[in-house]
């Protein structure tokens, strides 16, 4: 770990791929992902830690990447919305959002998906209350949340039962 105000070298793995770059200590993780690495799935909504559009999974935990410094992520494993799809196959959460019309403008969706991903990793069969609690840090101004909750529930079912067809 380098010290002081000069540029610091940051190495991370994002969606399984290694990346490294020199950044100012004040660079936020969201700006590092978007501007340095070109990973633009995580969005900047409010930039004040309220909206959750920038949510990513950092070492297994959902965090708002506008509230973490890039240098703090040095050595970390990061999952963004881009990492959900595998070999052209959407993640069950993404499929469920699509099938349940869980988005209109889509701006909050990358964050909603990552919060839902964290929830289902911990609780494969959440109640509606638990789903609502899990996405309280993700604002959506379009849907009224109804279809988002429905989609997460549907994804949970899909993921816990063996895939049919």
């Amino acid at each position: 770990m380098s010290e002081g105000q000069e540029l610091v070298h940051v190495r991370v793995r994002v969606n399984g791929q290694p990346y490294e770059a020199d950044v100012e200590p004040r660079t936020l993780l969201i700006d590092f992902l978007r501007d340095e690495l070109g990973i633009t799935g995580p969005h900047i909504g409010c930039d004040t830690g309220h909206c959750g559009a920038c949510t990513v999974i950092l070492n297994g935990r959902s965090v708002k990447s506008c509230m973490v410094l890039a240098v703090q992520a040095d050595g970390s494993e990061i999952l963004t919305v881009e990492g959900l799809e595998k070999d052209g196959q959407l993640h069950p959460l993404q499929e469920a959002f699509w099938e349940n019309h869980a988005l209109q403008c889509g701006y909050c969706t990358p964050g909603q998906l990552m919060s839902a991903y964290f929830l289902l990793g911990r609780n494969p069969n959440p109640s509606e209350d638990e789903i609502r609690k899990a996405i309280e840090g993700n604002l959506c101004r379009c849907t009224g949340y109804v279809n988002i909750v429905k989609a997460i529930k549907a994804a949970a079912l899909k993921m816990s039962s063996p895939r049919a067809g």
Partner: protein, 294 residues
């Protein structure tokens, strides 16, 4: 939005962190960063250096001690505490305060030590710490430690008993409460993620007959630091609790309170809500202490 430039240090020991804190003028300690980074992005704060505590090993633990105390490392995440079975069973007031703290992303990053050292008058944990009679362990260089009770730790709005240039919070200790004890945390806010308008933490222990042996009631968001409703506590002592007694205690408890008015609520409204929440919290804590309710 970006913070103003700063020097960044990531020490790996408490001793190195304290050395840097003494050496670097205008430096601040960075814990979970869920308040500090927000303030820096808004340029309300522009520390010359950040000393990041996240690379220090051995500040993240929840440990039951042989003497019944629970020791919590300063860098323990809110979420780790909230999920902890010992916190859930032994300290429901703390568990409820954590459950209603921020959102999942904040709980995944924020730390107990960071919250207490920040001492936001509307934060969830300070009143819970006062109600539970927490002890706060503070480190200085050369392994020096001192312990401060939660009652004395919070001094004013965003101000604690810590010497900001040479001390850091390293541990929180919760005392064992007798078997027949119960507690709760309640708050009113416009939306779940908003700052609270009023919050109350209550902890009560009773004797075999159900009479109150000890009561600790602390409010937040109504004063520059957690407000002990000692008036309410003394009304409860030696008695069984019912609606009437809880109401009288709540009335007495908020007597000297002069809450601030702000964009969330007027002082008058805060005081009225305080009465209601103190009453409800007393009833719930007593029901839990007597085993009527989990």
């Amino acid at each position: 939005m970006r913070p103003a430039p700063f020097e960044y240090y990531a020490p790996e020991t408490v001793e190195d962190a304290l050395r840097l804190l003494e050496e670097k003028e205008g430096a601040k300690l960075l814990a979970g960063g869920q308040s500090l980074l927000a303030l820096m992005k808004l340029r309300l704060l522009a520390p010359s250096a950040l000393i990041d505590l996240n690379r220090i090993n051995g500040l993240r633990y929840i440990r039951e001690e042989g003497n019944g105390w629970l020791s919590i490392g300063a860098m323990t995440l809110y979420d780790e505490l909230e999920q902890s079975p010992v916190v859930r069973t032994r300290y429901p007031a703390l568990r409820e305060a954590l459950y209603r703290l921020g959102d999942q992303q904040v709980r995944n990053r924020g730390t107990i030590g960071g919250s207490l050292a920040h001492a936001d008058p509307s934060a969830n944990l300070p009143p819970a710490m006062v109600a539970l009679k927490a002890q706060i362990v503070v480190a200085r260089r050369n392994g020096e430690r001192r312990t401060i009770s939660a009652d004395d730790f919070f001094v004013d709005s965003f101000t604690t008993a810590l010497d900001p240039e040479r001390e850091m919070l390293v541990e929180v200790r919760l005392p064992p409460w007798p078997r027949m004890s119960g507690g709760t945390y309640m708050k009113l806010s416009k939306r779940e993620i908003d700052f609270s308008i009023v919050e109350v933490a209550a902890q009560i222990s009773v004797d075999d007959a159900g009479n109150v042996r000890e009561a600790r009631i602390a409010l937040g968001s109504v004063a520059p630091k957690p407000y002990r409703a000692t008036g309410a506590e003394s009304v409860l002592l030696g008695s069984k609790v019912d609606e009437g007694l809880a109401a009288r205690a709540a009335e007495k408890g908020v007597e000297g309170l002069e809450p601030p008015s702000d964009v969330q609520a007027t002082g008058w409204y805060r005081k009225e809500v305080s009465k209601v929440l103190v009453k409800r919290a007393i009833l719930k804590a007593w029901r839990r202490a007597t085993g009527v309710e989990q």
